[in-house]
């Protein structure tokens, strides 16, 4: 077995960072309050000063801080991303999570000793793609897209010169991240360039007859939840649609559901995964505390040779449903 795997936890606010560290995170990832990261939501994220304090808090307790600069700067706005990289380096973050080749190139060139991780937003899903980023920018870790089975992950491990991080809990992204313009198509705000998926400013929830709830993104109906039916995020890839070959509206891409790989932790450790990532910088402290402590316990159990049990996290999941998604079976595809 490889070295002790790292538990990588989300922090949308300084309070969440402290809670994550206190709950047993080995590292915490966060972003600045602008388009340079993929969770550029209102009221979320860190100022440079807050990040400085956050780094001190984490380092004082033996935890690391990973800075997500994982969106794609459109030509003409590169300086915002360049400044984010420079600020992150100056504040002593332990790694910068990059997706764009230009940002990676700038960071590697300007700050050659700064550790770089490759974001899931880069959609590097083959050993060749991963090796390209390692060779060009000295990337030390890749965050794999949530589309591979454990056995496929295992075979990638043996073919790449860097560490592997996989998601274990949270949003179950269906589209290849970093390759999705659905939000831009619907709203004019781009996930890749603005860091927002389904911007809250264009989300509306409307009551419908019979106690139903209609969710909208811009002008578009995304889903309708009947009274008592569990709800999901108003994202296009979790929406309900009609099509010629189906009688009823259906979840064309995926139903509201979250990823939970708690039961597969031992398998993932055996496959050689170096870091386990919990999704959810947009979630609350309550979520962070519960999920981080559950997975802390799970990973510790695996390392001690016990059966991991992350307990019941279903109430935190989208649509109050969980899945092992692509990790368990090729039939997910």
């Amino acid at each position: 077995m490889s070295a002790r795997p790292e538990l990588v936890c989300p922090a949308g606010t300084p309070a969440a960072l402290r809670d994550a560290v206190d709950a047993g995170a080995d590292s915490v990832y966060c972003g600045f309050q602008n388009a340079t990261n993929a969770r550029n939501f209102p009221g979320l994220n860190f100022t440079a000063e807050e990040l400085r304090t956050g780094v001190a808090y984490a380092h004082g307790r033996g935890a690391k801080v990973l800075l997500a600069i994982n969106t794609f700067p459109p030509a003409g706005k590169f300086s915002l991303w360049r400044d984010a990289v420079d600020t992150g380096v100056a504040l002593g973050v332990d790694a910068i999570i990059v997706a764009d080749i230009g940002v990676a190139s700038y960071a590697a060139r300007t700050h050659p000793t700064q550790r770089l991780h490759l974001s899931v937003q880069a959609s590097a899903s083959s050993p060749e793609a991963i090796r390209y980023y390692c060779r060009e920018f000295g990337v030390k870790r890749v965050v794999l897209p949530r589309i591979l089975t454990v056995s496929e992950i295992k075979s990638i491990v043996s073919e790449i010169p860097c560490e592997i991080e996989t998601f274990v809990f949270g949003n179950h992204g269906l589209m290849l991240e970093g390759r999705c313009s659905l939000t831009n198509y619907a709203t004019g705000v781009s996930t890749n360039m603005d860091g927002v998926c389904s911007p809250a400013a264009q989300v509306r929830f409307e009551p419908a007859e019979g106690g139903a709830l209609m969710s909208r993104l811009g002008d578009h109906a995304i889903d309708r939840f009947e009274s008592g039916e569990k709800a999901g995020y108003p994202t296009i890839c979790k929406g309900r649609y009609t099509t010629r070959c189906r009688q009823e509206p259906y979840y064309a891409f995926e139903e509201p559901v979250s990823l939970n790989l708690g039961p597969m932790l031992a398998e993932l450790v055996r496959a050689g995964v170096n870091a386990f990532k919990i999704e959810g910088r947009q979630r609350s402290r309550a979520y962070v505390k519960r999920v981080v402590s559950a997975f802390r316990g799970g990973i510790d159990a695996v390392l001690e040779g016990r059966e991991p049990n992350v307990g019941d996290l279903i109430s935190l999941t989208e649509g109050q449903k969980q899945t092992e998604g692509a990790f368990k079976t090729k039939r997910w595809r």
Partner: protein
């Protein structure tokens, strides 16, 4: 260079029967005023074996007709067969290669190549890095704003490379590992039985309120309306775009190419061309895509 924008026929994104495909490219070779034709399977590796045996003949015919032929790599590379396909494609020496995923960059080993619209090139830093890796031509992602395209065009010119944007056809919006065509029919990707062949322009998804909105093409999602930049041709040329990409659809692509050529050459007014395009009745809706400004 104004006045000599080149038209290209992008890769066929949909799964057509091989006979239809051969006929299509034969007509393109004989009649379409396009300078470059991109071949190859970009969306789904499972479809590739149907076409692969026929590509040499199709490519030769196009080349004989004076078209420049470029072979495209897969936009998503994950499985062993996909890695192999990409490696083999990048080993081609007779034809130029367009790379649509970083997997191809490792395989191409610095030899000259093109970068496709599924590869994230958003800024000059990225463009310059890829030029350094051997890229000679870029097709930009559809969602890039016009101002950014202009800056990239300047950077491309400074690096001595050429720049292409999509000007016609449903806009690719997303890729997934899951096959949504199979899912719609209660199957999974491994036993899809190539049901995507039923929809030569993709399968339309409508919202709960009945608005036709998205189109499914296997693992890919596209816009329902067809992008049409007839009225932007001169503007794009002015900012330094050298090539305009027409994506193939199951309609008279020769007529489409002629309209674009006519407008580019100043023979046709954009509005007149657009009217004629819609008059065919083959296109349900047009959009100017992400270029709203």
């Amino acid at each position: 260079m104004a006045g000599c924008v080149q038209l290209t026929l992008g890769p066929l994104l949909f799964h057509w029967p091989i006979e239809a495909k051969r006929d299509f490219y034969a007509r393109i070779a004989d009649e379409a005023p396009v300078d470059v034709v991109y071949l190859g399977e970009v969306v789904c590796s499972k479809r590739a074996p149907f076409s692969e045996p026929h590509y040499p003949e199709i490519a030769e015919r196009l080349a004989r007709a004076g078209k420049r032929v470029v072979f495209c790599s897969l936009a998503e590379v994950m499985l062993r067969r996909e890695r192999q396909m990409t490696a083999e494609l990048c080993a081609l020496t007779d034809y130029e290669v367009e790379i649509n995923d970083a997997s191809g960059l490792a395989a191409i080993g610095g030899r000259p190549h093109r970068i496709g619209q599924f590869f994230n090139v958003y800024n000059e830093e990225t463009l310059r890095h890829l030029v350094h890796n051997g890229a000679t031509h870029f097709t930009l992602p559809a969602e890039l704003p016009r101002d950014s395209v202009a800056i990239l065009a300047d950077a491309a010119r400074a690096c001595g490379v050429t720049l292409e944007v999509q000007a016609f056809g449903r806009t690719p919006l997303a890729l997934s590992a899951r096959c949504y065509h199979a899912r719609a029919h209660g199957r999974v990707k491994d036993n899809c039985q190539f049901v995507c062949e039923e929809d030569p322009d993709g399968m339309v998804l409508s919202t709960l309120e009945g608005r036709d909105w998205l189109v499914i093409n296997g693992v890919q999602t596209l816009s329902y309306p067809y992008l049409c930049l007839l009225d932007r041709i001169h503007g794009l040329q002015r900012i330094g775009v050298t090539h305009l990409r027409l994506l193939p659809h199951a309609l008279d692509m020769i007529a489409v190419a002629r309209l674009f050529r006519g407008v580019a050459d100043g023979i046709l007014e954009p509005a007149e061309a657009q009217t004629r395009l819609l008059a065919s009745g083959a296109i349900p809706a047009l959009t100017n895509g992400f270029c709203q400004s």
